[in-house]
Amino acid sequence: MPDFITSLSVKWKVILPVAVILVAAFAVSAYVLTDLAARDLAASAATTAETMEAAVDSSLRYSMAHRQHAMVRSLVARLALSEGVDTVRILDAEGKTWAPPTGDSGRASPQAARHIRAAARRPQGRERYRDAAGTHHLLWAVRSEPRCAACHGKREVLGGIEIAVSAAAARRRTEHALRRMLGAQVAAFVLVVLAIALVVHAAVHYPIARLIRTMGRVERGDLSARARVRAHDEIGRLRERFNHMVQQIAAQNLELARAQQQLAQSERLASIGLLAAGVAHEINNPLATISMAAESLHESAADERERNLARAVSDQAGRISEIVGQLLSFDYSRPPALAAADVRDVMEEALASVPMGEVRISRYYEPHVPRVRMERDRLREAFANIVRNALDAMGGRGELAVTVGHCGGEVEVSITDTGPGIPPDHRGRVFDPFFTTKEVGEGTGLGLAIAYQVVRMHQGEIYVRSPAAAPGADAGARFVIRLPAAGRSEDETRA
């Protein structure tokens, strides 16, 4: 298809063919109507002429019989004034004009005489011809009757009645009708094209243009842009689908951003783990010497002061060792050894490994929970770290609610405390390594980061919720962990 057609807007693609079709239809109808009008005019002129001829003929015979020539002459004069009639004449056999009386009456016209003879020869006694000016003439032969013989002798044809229908007048009328018709057609054409343009603009062009504008906004990154759906036609459906698409893109973007954030966090933790694996040897070796020497000194100390100093060295060496050990748990460079197990059992082990003090524990376990493929020791440690964090937050008293359930293909674990909750500006950082609100020496800030890394390495999700607290009330924090359930073959639920 040529470029200029493909680059036309839909509006013009509709209007142009319609306009062409309309022009063609109007042209054909104009032609047909003009032709019909012309024929009609001719027919009516002929009828008028016939009627006039009949009137003139009978009047002529009557006038002749009663010698009242003035009557027929006045009739002829009056008829000649009729619209569309050029001339009405009564001729004698030589072509001389007998009525109306004119300047050249009396002069014989051989041409007229010839037409009279030709008319007489025809069965209907009428001759039709056009003169040089294009005027149509109808000429009837006036035949003799027995009563005419008294004056006209034995002549068969006494003369003729000629009526000339004005071509100019007929043409004028035809052209007038044609002009009016053309005017009406042009007006109709303009109206129809305008109406179609208006309808196409309102129903097609405008909604599409708006949709294109909305698409432009989405293209520029505004995923909150939505097309307004008013009609439920094709364009309405198009807008609906577009909205749905944008919504999906927005949702996927959100998911992607979250995944990227989690990936970045995992990678950060993994790189810490990798670093730890690299330096563990370099740190633990001197640490072994320090701790061994300190313990030895502690035993052989001469007095209490020396003993305390030696113990301080030994304890701090132990702390360093603990931190290195925790950092090593970020290292997932080797693939985890997974085996399917029941999350409820692992949670119980984790709860048992943490001293609870005065904290009450409420368990809400679903009776049937799919098993999860896991590295059991690590997951237990992750749960224990979250529980420890909750207990620290509650300051040793309160209630810890633990739930294990499942939804879709995931096992969901939640650990909720009745502590002070997590301020909004801390919520994004609680899983960061070394982020801690505890006093120096009380926490390494690695427990939740380890939990995060362990859950992520199990293809799971972990997040924290802390509702806005009413003034004076503790908001509490709720950690939610989602882990993918094991496949069907391993998914033996237990009551």
Binding site: A280, H281, N284, P286, L287, A288, M292, L328, R334
Partner: protein
């Protein structure tokens, strides 16, 4: 008073060697120290030790190679693998290869004592 054991310590960390010697000698054992597996090998072939501490990660020849050495396997030398970077795999591997025990650095004096005591009992049993 139980008689002391003959103990060899193999580690490329000289400070640790000295401290271990000092601690173990303080417990009444006879302790020899060498800074590499290469130097340990001839001594192990010549003399008989009740207990050998070997660091897992050393240059040129590591503790695991020494453990797997055919000659020592035949003689049933009790070897303890020490490591500063413990993994489940190395621990399992060491014990499968006949290691007497697996010691994670840094370790407590009590752990060391318990281990040496166990080795002493095993040595007495073996005659």
């Amino acid at each position: 008073m139980k008689p002391g054991l003959d103990i060899l310590v193999v580690d490329d960390d000289k400070a640790l060697l000295e401290v271990l010697r000092s601690v173990l000698e303080g417990e009444g054992h006879r302790v020899e120290i060498v800074p590499s597996a290469y130097e340990a090998l001839p001594r192990l072939e010549q003399a008989r030790y009740d207990l050998v501490f070997v660091d897992l990660k050393m240059r040129r020849m590591d503790g695991m190679e020494l453990l797997e050495h055919e000659c020592l396997q035949r003689r049933g030398t009790r070897m303890v693998i020490m490591t500063a970077y413990p993994t489940v795999e190395t621990a399992v591997h060491a014990l499968r290869q006949g290691a007497f025990d697996y010691l994670v650095k840094p370790f407590k004096l009590a752990e060391l004592r318990a281990l040496v005591e166990r080795a002493g009992a095993a040595a007495q049993e073996a005659g």
